[in-house]
Amino acid sequence: MSVISDPVQAGIAAGWRVTDGAQLQADQTLEADVVIVGSGAGGGVTAEILALSGLKVIIVEEGALKSSRDFKMREAEAYPALYQESAARKTKDKGITILQGRTVGGSTTINWTSSFRTPDITLRYWNQHFGLKDYTPESLAPWFGMMEERLSISDWPTPPNENNDLLRRGASKLNIPTGLIRRNVNGCWNLGYCGMGCPTNAKQSMLVTTIPSALQHGASLLTRVRADRLTIKNDRVTTLECVALTPDGLGTTGRRITLRARHFVLAGGAINTPALLMRSTAPDPHGLLGKRTFLHPTVISAGIFAQRVDGYAGAPQSVYSDHFLHNDRIDGPMGYKLEAPPLHPLLFSTTMPGFGAQHAAVMRQFPHVHALLALLRDGFHADAPGGSVALVHGAPVLDYPFSPFIWDGVRRALLSMAEIQFAAGAQSVTPVHERAEAYSSWTQAQAGINALPLKLLQTRVVSAHVMGGCGMSDDERLGVTSSGGRYHGLANVSVHDGSLFPTAIGANPQLSIYGIVARLASGLAQQMTGQPAARPTRA
C-alpha cells in the first residue's frame, strides 16, 4: 500500500466517466456539446473551463490513464507507457529525437515543470508580423496569473541541485546572468523523476488538476482512443471518427467510436493536431497547414567534474540563462536559451555517443557528469522557418531541415556551453556529437568545436517543445487559425494547443499554452453558453 494517495484512482472509484477504448467490445456513438481531442496542456485547461461553465464535454486521449500508483520512476517502464513512440519519436530523416507525452495529461504528465510566461519580445513579434494585436504582455497577464494560481506556479525556494547550480556558477564567472525557474508544484519532494510521471502528485500537471476537475463536473474521458478524422459537411464538422487502440497502445482493435458535438476543440499537440486536420482534408487554401512547425532544436554539452553532480537528484530544472537570446535582435543570428537537463541512465546513455570502452568510461563517471542544453529559438528568421508535417499512410511525419543559419547557432551554443562548464570547473567537456572528443581545456574545446562538421545525425539534436503548424493570424494568408483559435474555413473547430504559435516561444512552452488557451476556452464557453465563463480555481 503506497503512502501516497492517488486522486485519479479515488475519482474513478467515485464514479468518474472514464472509458478505456482498449476494452470496448462494440462500436459506439456518443454526443456532447464539445469534443476535445487531447488531454495535455491545451485540452486539460479547455476541458475544465468548459465543464465548469456547464457544457457537456468529451475528452479523447490516445494514451492510457496512468496515475501516481503506476509511476515507479523507471525509465524502461515510463517511456513506452507515457511518451509518443516510446520517447523515440523522430523527424523524417531521423536526425532529431522528439519527446512528447502520450498519456492522460499529455506532456504535462512527464515534463520537467519549468514555467515561463511568453516572453514579451515573442509577443511583440507576433503583433508585428502576424497582426495578433490582443497578444500583449498586459492583455495576457490576467490569464497567466489565473493559471499560475490554478497550477501553483511560483518561485521554487529550494536551492538548485548541483547540475543546475553549475550553470549558475559557471555563467556567473563569465558575467552571464542567470535566473531561477518557477515550477508548477505543490509539496514537491525534490526527487528528480518528473520525466517519469510524478510519484507524489506534487507536480500540478493536467492529470491531477484540470482533468479531475472536469471529470468531477460531468465530463467524459475516453482513453486509448485515437482521433482519426473529422467529417466535414460544407463548413461544419458533424462528427469525429475515432479508433480504439489495443492495450499496449500500438495497434487498433477494430472498434470505432463516432463522436457528435456542436463544437470540436483540437489539442493533440503540434504534430498530431495538424495531422488530424490533414487526414480530414480541412480547408487550407494558402497551403499553411502543418507548416512552420517549431522545435526549439536542442543541443547538448556534457562535462565531467571532480565532485559529484548527481544530475538525477532534485528538481530537474531550476536555473536558466536567457543571455544568448538577447545578444542580438530577435530576427538576427539565432539565439538560444540555456538550461540543465535531468540525467537518468537510459536517456543519458543513449544520448552519449560512441560505444565499447569509450562509452563505458563515460558511464563509469555518471555521478560526476554535468549536462547543459541549448534550446535554439526558431521561427523568427527566414532561414529558420521550422519544419512541416506530412502524412505517410495517415501517420504524421515531421520533416525539419537544418539550414547553415541554424548550424551557426548550434556552433555558438556548443561553444557557450563548453565555456560555462570550464568556468564552473569542469575537468573535461564533450559536445554531444559523433566526432567530438572530451576536451580538457576551453582553448582545446574552442578549436575542437570550431572544427566539428555540423550535420544532423552526427550532432545529437533533440526537442521537447513542438510548436506551430496551425499558426494564428486573422489574416488567412498568414495563418490557418484566428487570434481566437478558430480554424479558418470551419465554423465549429478550434485549435487549443501549442500548434497555434506562429513562432517558437523562446522558453519552455507549458505556461504559454495554459494562459493563452485559458483565454481562448473562456471565450468559447461564453460564445456557447451566452454567459461569462466560469473561472477555475485551486481546489
Binding site: 526527487l191 510519484p199 507524489t200 541512465p345 537510459l346 546513455s349 560505444f355 565499447g356 555521478p367 499512410h393
Partner: protein, 174 residues
C-alpha cells in the same frame, strides 16, 4: 567472396542498391502492419555479435556470467523494440534481417565469415564505419543499434550499481 575493407568504404551507390535489394532497411513509409518484432534466430545471431562490442568492458568476462549477461541484454533489446510503434518495429526487423544476409554482412558491414564467428575487431570496425558513414541510412542504422543495445542495458536496475546510480526512492515503490 572476400571484400577488402577499402572497397567497403567506397561502397556508395553499390551499397544503396544492396540496401534496396536487401529489403528496405529504413522505411519512411509507415506501412500499416500488424506484425510485431520477433527476435528470431538470425536477429539473435547478429545481436550476439554486436552487443559485446557495443557494450565493451561492462560485460562480465567469465564465460558463464558473460553468456547470462548477453542473453539478458538481447532479451531487453527485444522488449525495448516491442515498445516502439509497429512501423518502427518493422524497420528494426528489416535491419536485423538485412544484416543477417551474407552479402549485406560482407558488403555493407564488412564483416567476414558468419556472425557467430565474427572477429570483435571486425565488428568494431563495422560499427565505427557506420557511425560516421557518408550514407545517412547507415548512420541511422548504427544509431538504432547504439540506442537499443546501450539503452536497454543501462535501463536495467542490475547495472545501476556499476555506474553509481542510486535509482528511485525505495519507500515509494511499494
Amino acid at each position: 567472396m572476400q571484400v577488402p575493407r577499402r572497397s567497403f568504404l567506397k561502397i556508395g551507390v553499390a551499397g544503396a542498391c544492396t540496401l534496396a535489394a536487401g529489403g528496405a532497411l529504413y522505411r519512411l513509409a509507415h506501412a500499416p502492419s500488424a506484425s510485431r518484432f520477433a527476435l528470431d534466430g538470425k536477429a539473435l545471431t547478429v545481436l550476439n555479435a554486436v552487443i559485446p562490442v557495443m557494450l565493451g568492458p561492462v560485460l562480465p568476462v567469465a564465460a558463464e556470467a558473460r553468456a547470462l549477461a548477453l542473453s539478458g541484454a538481447s532479451a531487453r533489446v527485444r522488449d525495448a523494440v516491442l515498445g516502439l510503434p509497429l512501423a518502427t518495429q518493422k524497420e528494426v526487423q528489416d535491419l536485423f534481417g538485412l544484416l543477417a544476409l551474407g552479402p549485406a554482412r560482407r558488403l555493407l558491414a564488412g564483416v567476414r565469415g558468419d556472425w557467430e564467428q565474427a572477429d570483435p575487431a571486425n565488428v568494431a570496425a563495422f560499427l565505427h564505419s557506420w557511425r560516421t558513414h557518408s550514407l545517412q541510412t547507415l548512420q541511422v542504422a548504427y544509431q538504432a543499434l547504439h540506442d537499443l543495445i546501450i539503452g536497454a542495458w543501462y535501463a536495467d536496475p542490475a547495472t545501476w550499481e556499476s555506474i553509481g546510480y542510486p535509482g528511485p526512492v525505495r519507500e515509494l515503490l511499494a
